[in-house]
Symmetry: C2
Subunit: 357 residues, 2 copies
C-alpha cells in the first residue's frame, strides 16, 4: 500500500537537508508518495501565513509528516501569530501530536565533539518523552490585563495558565513507560511538585500509571535537579518523562550535551502512533544555501518515521546502520569534523548514506 | 552600630556548615549579634510548622538572615504545606525578597572538578539574576478542579497561573542592569516570549529598562536555547536576567557546570537591599552530622551578606581572599579533593578560613 508522506522543508537549511532525507528514503525502493508544501517563513512570504490551510490539510491527510526547520531573522519582527514557530505549534495542536520523543545519543565517533568530558558522555543514550499539546503552552486563559489582585493590582500584567488534566497525563505516561519497556526499563518523572499544583497531579498520575509496568523502575526529580543531573551524570538516565515546558528546556540541554545536535531527530506522535518527524536542531539561516549543513538529523527523522509511523523497523535499521557506517568511515560534515576525517558537503553526506544502505 | 543577624541553620548539614560561617564572621571582630531560630524540618518537628511565627518574626526584625539548608527524607511524606521547602517560599514572600543573585564561578584550582572540559569552564564567572516572588510560583488562581474546557472538559485537572506585572519586571530588571554595570556590562534576558504572554511582557519591559543603561549590552535567549548555551559556551554569559521558574532551572544547571556547587552562595534581596543569604546547595541529609560537608558556600554567603546587606565591602573581600588562599594552599573538603591536596573536615575548613583572614 502506498504511504503518503507530507514533506515540509521550511526555512533556512530546511530544503537542503530535506533533499538528503528524501534521497535516502527513495533509495529504499518502497512505495512512498511525496507531497511537498510550504511551512514557516517561506509559507508566510508566499501565502501570508506560516501554516496555510493547504499545508495543514496535506499534513492531516498524509500518513506521516517529514518536517525540516522553520525560522529566519527576517521574520523576527512579525507579530507573534504570524511568526514561523506558530506553524510548529499549530501542527502539534491540530494533529494532536501529544507525545514528543527526543533521543539524545552520543555516537562513539563523536564523543570528542561534546563540551563534556568523554568519560561523562560516552555511552549516553537517553530519551526525553515530552508532552506536547498541553501545559502553559496552550492553557487558557492567557493574555494581557490589568493585574486583578496582589501587591501590583491595577498594573499591566502578562499571564498564562499552566494546566494538565488526568487523562492528558495518563496517555503521555503510558508512552513513557512503553518506551522504557523497549529500553533500559527506567523512567525518571520530572516535575516541580514541591511548588506547582499542576506538577503535583502530574506526579500522582505518573505514579499510578507506573503500577501497570511493574518491571519499570520509576524515580523522580524536580526539574531544577534534573537540569543538574543532565550535566553531572547524564548516563544515569534512560527515559525522562515530563511536561511540555520542562521538556522543551531539558531536551535542548540534553541534545547539547552530546555535542552533535546536528545528529539528533525527534518524533511527535498522536494517538494513532503516526505523526511528525523532524531534526532537533533549527533552521540555521546563517549557513542556508551553502550546502554545508549536516543532514544526518533529518535522515534520522526519516528513520524514526519508518519505525514509529509505518512500523518498518527493518528499513529504519537499514538507514541507521548506513549512518553508523558512514561515521565509521570517517565521513563528516563541517560541524562534526575533526582531524583525520574527510569533510563533505550536505549533499555528499546524503549520497554517502544512500550508497551505504 | 550593632547589626542583628538571624541565623537559621535548618536541617541536614545546615548546622555544621553554619557553625563555620559564624566562626569566620566572629573572627572579623565586628559588632554583630547572632540570634538563632529553627527553620525547615527541624522547626516542623519542634514547633509543628517549617516556618514558625517566631522564626519569621526574627527574620523580619533582623538586619539580615543567614540561612543554612532545609529538607530531609523524613519529611518527604508530609503534606506540601508543612514540608521544609515551604519555609523558603514563606521567607521569600514575607520578606519581599524579589531579587535572587546566584553567581556561578569556576575557581581556577577546581576547574578539573567540572564534568565539562577545562577549556569550556575555565574563567566561568556569571550571575543569574532571578526574580523570586512572582511567576507561576505564587500566581493565583491555582489548585485542583474539574477541567472547565478543552478536549478533557470535566476531567480532574491541576492548574497554576504564570504572571508578571510591569512593576515587578521593572524592579528586577534594574537589579540586573545595575549588577551588570559592576561586571562585564552584558545582560542576557532569558524568557520564552515565542510562546508565553508573560514572557512577551517580560521581554518588552526589560528592553525598556535597558534604555536607562546605555553602556550595558542587552541580548536575548529563549530559555531552551539558554539551557544549551550554558553547556556549549558558558563563559559567553555575564548577567542572566530571568523569571522565577526559568531562574530556578538555569541557576542549578549553571552551578553544576562549575563542578563545585559546594562553593556557591546566593543572595535574596528586598527593596532595601537587605535580605537572606544561603548556600546554593541543599541539606545533604546523607552526610549530615559527619563533619565532612563543605562549608565554603555558607562562608561565602556570609561574605555576600556583608557586601549586599551591610555594605562592608572590605570585610567581604577579607573573607573571599581567605577562601582563595585556603584553596591555593591545597586545603580541600572531600567533595572538591583531588590528588596532591590535603583533605580536611568541615570544621577544619572553617578553622583554616578563619586563620587565613
Ligand atoms: C519553536 C518553539 C515554539 C518550540 C517549542 O518551544 O516547543 C521549540 O523550541 C521546540 O522545542 O520544538
Ligand atoms: C526548594 C524550592 C522551593 C526552591 C525553588 O524552587 O525556588 C529551590 O529549588 C531553590 O532554587 O531555591
Amino acid at each position: 500500500m502506498t504511504k503518503k508522506i507530507a514533506v515540509l522543508p521550511g526555512d533556512g537549511i530546511g530544503p537542503e537537508i530535506m533533499d538528503q532525507a528524501v534521497k535516502v528514503l527513495k533509495a529504499l525502493g518502497e512505495n512512498f508518495e511525496y507531497e511537498y508544501a510550504d511551512v514557516g517563513g517561506v509559507a508566510y512570504a508566499r501565502h501570508g501565513h506560516p501554516l496555510p490551510e493547504e499545508t495543514l490539510g496535506l499534513a492531516k491527510s498524509a500518513d506521516a509528516v517529514l518536517f525540516g526547520a522553520v525560522g529566519d531573522f527576517k521574520y523576527d519582527t512579525l507579530e507573534r501569530s504570524l511568526r514561523p514557530e506558530q506553524a510548529i505549534l499549530g501542527l502539534r495542536k491540530n494533529l494532536n501530536l501529544f507525545a514528543n520523543l527526543r533521543p539524545a545519543v552520543c555516537y562513539p565517533e563523536l564523543v570528542s565533539a561534546s563540551t563534556l568530558k568523554p568519560e561523562v558522555v560516552s555511552g549516553l543514550d537517553l530519551v526525553i518523552v515530552r508532552e506536547l499539546t498541553g501545559d502553559v503552552y496552550f492553557g487558557k486563559p492567557r493574555g494581557r490585563r490589568l493585574s486583578p489582585d496582589g501587591a501590583f493590582k491595577g498594573a499591566e500584567e502578562g499571564f498564562d495558565t499552566m494546566r494538565y488534566s488526568r487523562p492528558e497525563i495518563e496517555r503521555i505516561a503510558h508512552v513513557g513507560f512503553r518506551t522504557a519497556m523497549q529500553r533500559k526499563k527506567h523512567v525518571t518523572c520530572v516535575d516541580k511538585s514541591n511548588v506547582l499544583e499542576t506538577s503535583q497531579l502530574w506526579r500522582e498520575v505518573v505514579t499510578e500509571v507506573s503500577k501497570s509496568y511493574p518491571e519499570v523502575k520509576l524515580d523522580y526529580l524536580y526539574v531544577d535537579n534534573a537540569a543538574m543531573q543532565l550535566v553531572r551524570a547524564p548516563t544515569s538516565l534512560d527515559v525522562v518523562l515530563t511536561g511540555n515546558l520542562f521538556g522543551d528546556i531539558l531536551s535542548d540541554e540534553a541534545a547539547m550535551l552530546t555535542g552533535s545536535i546536528g545528529m539528533l531527530a525527534s518524533a511527535s506522535l498522536n494517538e494513532k502512533g503516526t505523526g511528525l518527524f523532524e531534526p532537533s536542531h533549527g533552521s540555521a539561516p546563517d549557513i542556508a544555501g551553502k550546502n554545508i549543513a549536516n543532514p544526518i538529523a533529518t535522515v534520522e527523522s526519516a528513520a524514526m518515521m519508518l519505525r514509529y509511523a509505518f512500523h518498518m523497523d527493518e528499513q529504519a535499521d537499514r538507514i541507521e546502520n548506513a549512518i553508523k557506517s558512514v561515521l565509521a568511515a570517517g565521513i563528516r560534515t563541517g560541524d562534526i569534523w575533526s582531524e583525520g576525517c574527510r569533510k563533505v558537503s550536505c549533499s555528499e553526506m546524503g549520497d554517502a548514506i544512500r550508497d551505504a544502505l
